[in-house]
Amino acid sequence: MAEQQPVLLANVHRPDSEKITTYVRHGGYTALRKALKTDPEEIIAEVKASGLKGRGGAGFPTGTKWDFMPKDAPVKYLAVNTDEGEPGTFKDRLIVERDPHSILEGVIISAYAIGAHRAFVYIRGEFFLGVKRWIKAISDAYQHGFLGRDILGSGFDLDVSVHRGAGAYICGEETAMIESLEGKRGVPRAKPPYPAQSGMWSKPTLVQNVETLANIPHIILKGARWHSGIGTKESKGVKIFCVSGHVNRPGNFELPLGTRLKDIIFEHAGGVRMGRSVKAIIPGGASTPIIGADRISTPMAFETLKAAGTALGTGAVIVMDETTDMVEVVRRTTRFFVHESCGNCLPCRVGGKRMLEHLERLAAGTGTARDIEDLEYLAQGIYGQTFCPMGTGMVEPILSGLRLFRDEFEGKVKSN
């Protein structure tokens, strides 16, 4: 694969990268000027043709989602998902803190394309600096005429406001986020109707991840062809991979989709610490199935990871070396999801607690073979049976952990 100039992370290391002047000096907001002179339908077609898929975890084709937004609805909204809470993921925070205008430009173009005049930025409550950066970026954009009435003389109006979440992972799920934006408890809604049909205050609402939105200006400027020329058959463009765990150089790496896992770990993240070997990898954040070192040649793309029994998720690669206690890993991810369960549905609320009890006993060395059996039975029963995808995300590491490292679970069982 040809060496790729950074696209999404081109600005983040510049001094004063968050400032509007820096952004504009390096070509920022030229995509917006171009877009405002283009027919919205044409922009939607371009984004569709680019093959861009959502970077928030679900990987839904972005252009298709834009097309779902009813053309004739008088009021439509855009909701910008900056809730980043999936363990292992730390890319959205980087873009918001260091290059918020790259997202904002994507927001304005997207709103124009779908005909929304109101956008809501939802940001994780813990991201204090991110909140400040979002607010500053938006107020500077108003001053420069990129927001407000008659943007750059195009006749298009857009207002954007910032809304802080308050410490609830589930509010990253799009319908829970909408509830939270409406000032309620972040309990997911039933789908359908999808937000594109009925979202905030029952109006059609486009929910988009910030990394997804940051791709939009580049697609407008360089074209769908450019974008679809990067990546694999079903995974186009570049992706920010967040690498953490037992590696020498953890961090965010922007690479073409389809880059092999082992190249990400060894070339970009500097290999495994202390020269140890890889034991297991979580390739897409804590709700994606764990894979073993035998899968290390897998290209990081939607279709190839699916074929390997896992998922691209948010592109958060957590590397675990040979010394890692896999029962502890599974206990820890489960504890996270149990803590974050919204409590709306029984399998996730109660099943999660029971599974954690089994895992706590096993991790403490007081468990029995029965704990493993019951854990597996519950996890299989919960899989696919929860109100929202979080409950299934909770059991992915459990089921894959049991499948790959059963001997470690059995090794923890009390020997009498």
């Binding site: 730390f90 802080r164 979440g165 308050a166 309620k184 205050w201 953490s244 965010n252 804590a286």
Partner: protein
Amino acid sequence: MESRNVSKKPEGRAIIDPAKRSMLLAALYVAQEHNGYLTRDAVHQVAKRLGLTDSEVYSTASFYTLFRTEPVGRHVIQVCEGLSCYLNEGAERVVDYVGAKLGIKPGETTGDGRFTLETVQCLASCGTAPAMRVNDQLYENLSPASIDDILERLMGEV
């Protein structure tokens, strides 16, 4: 307009203004600022301004971990206990280290009311683990030495 979550006042009329209600989280942040937690009076004031009942406000606030209904220390230390922090010698090790220095366990506040120690989930700093937050400030790549520095600075504050 959707009918869910619309409260009926005794006179039987739905009175919730959805645009007002959407201000609730922001209002709770403001209400919490002064005392560090939501006093009964603060909740009541928010409810009154937004046309909600106190219990609707409590119900919503209780969903979110960043809203508190109990007093906390002046400095709230939140140590990440997520997977990547654990893999990088963080999580419990940091919790124990900070806890030993302050003489408290997670969930507790020092006797002088200055520090509260809590554990939290992934802070999106996994690439710079271990991580913790103190009030609104994020601290990354923690080591015993850097934790000493942070705590000493906070202890020196009046």
